[in-house]
Subunit: 135 residues, 4 copies
């Protein structure tokens, strides 16, 4: 559904290379249009707790077709989606998850990255997206 | 812990190639010595239900350091480990999961494959193991 | 509730010593009369998958106030408690869990052991029980 | 993986003694480098709800290799890791969990304590850490 394994592995490879360039240790997950895990890589000695978070970020980004950080803005106390993280077996609503579009701007999957600051996580995820979207 | 990402990706690549050669569509998971997912690939159009099974096979093989099919023999009705599958958040005890050893015969991780018959699943998993163990 | 920490630690110590004598690597769990974990020890290099099983064995033995293997006899296909393992977040119904009684024959807790054959598991659990019941 | 049972039991013993000195009733959990429970003790009449919290604190400290209270600072509303607690089957991000290092400053496990104020919990956990790190 949507993204192919070949595309997903290309995203993983690009994100992995970006993480090496930045000197950070990441968990990197790619899900397809059905929010099913398609490819995954855990860098040596990356945080144990980031494994689950990277997968949840990818799923969250596809569940709502927006970067996870955007959902987080809406999910603050008093916000319209407060505590949405309780749904779907647990969401992650801080940055590091980004939808992946095809050339027709249709969502074909998403990538989730976890292992450093949320800024680093997002930057590595974006590198994965760019490898597919050709930006 | 144990297997490196480089080794895990080599196992995935070899298992993937074996699946292509056999004309089957597989989910392929590799866990490290701590039973943590290290690398994963889901071939296009592989069964959706096999995603979770492949990961559970890899974990099961590492949890008890034996091929999943061996556990299944002990877990039959009347057998000593009947219904062991209810532990650890769900085990899979039919073939397709195999521990991965280093040159010193120490378990460094495991591979789990699901998507076809259990014989096919096991054969593809073994191809992944062989890529690392150099057999 | 029921067993004290002092008693639970005595049971763990005796079971641990028995396991050392037998040359096996065990996970050993003791729960109180409320089926709450009271003491636990995981021997170095014991099977990862046995951690959860040892705790589930102890809980199962206290849930029904009988050795886990007795429940297993009733839980076979066609038996009166077939698939009871689906309850309570997962039961384990093969040997290795034993209730612990006080001098008035009242159940004060239970011990669960996992890491070898079910016969070994049961023998190590019995050593833990004996340390408290003074047999 | 990492911490030995002997070390874990030494940490439990020291933390238990500290709790007795302070007149508080604690649940004390030690996990290894793989975040697997290695030793546990529940003091008589300690809060029932603290059992799970103590284990989750130990796991959380190892998942991210930092004291749980540090994660909590980042997980406040508006913070970069807001609601991270929904990952990994439930995290605890207030004080009482501390990583345990070896002499080479490598994380070999973690301790989690729950049963009193978070300040007391942290103090008892620190006593457990000190017993191993020899401070």
């Amino acid at each position: 559904m949507g993204i192919t394994l070949e595309q997903a592995q290309a995203a993983i490879k690009a994100a992995h290379q970006k993480a090496l360039d930045m000197g950070v240790k990441m968990n990197i997950a790619v899900v397809d249009a059905g929010a099913n895990l398609t490819a995954f890589a855990r860098m040596d000695d990356a945080w144990l707790g980031s494994l689950d978070i990277s997968i949840k970020k990818a799923k969250t980004a596809r569940y709502f077709d927006m970067p996870t950080g955007e959902i987080g803005k809406l999910a603050q106390p008093g916000g319209p989606l407060y505590n949405i993280e309780h749904s779907n077996g647990g969401l992650i609503s801080f940055p590091g998850g980004i939808p992946i579009m095809d050339s027709g701007n249709r969502v074909i999957g998403a990538i989730g990255v976890s292992g450093s600051t949320v800024e680093d996580d997002h930057a590595v995820a974006q590198a994965g997206v760019n490898a597919i979207q050709g930006q």
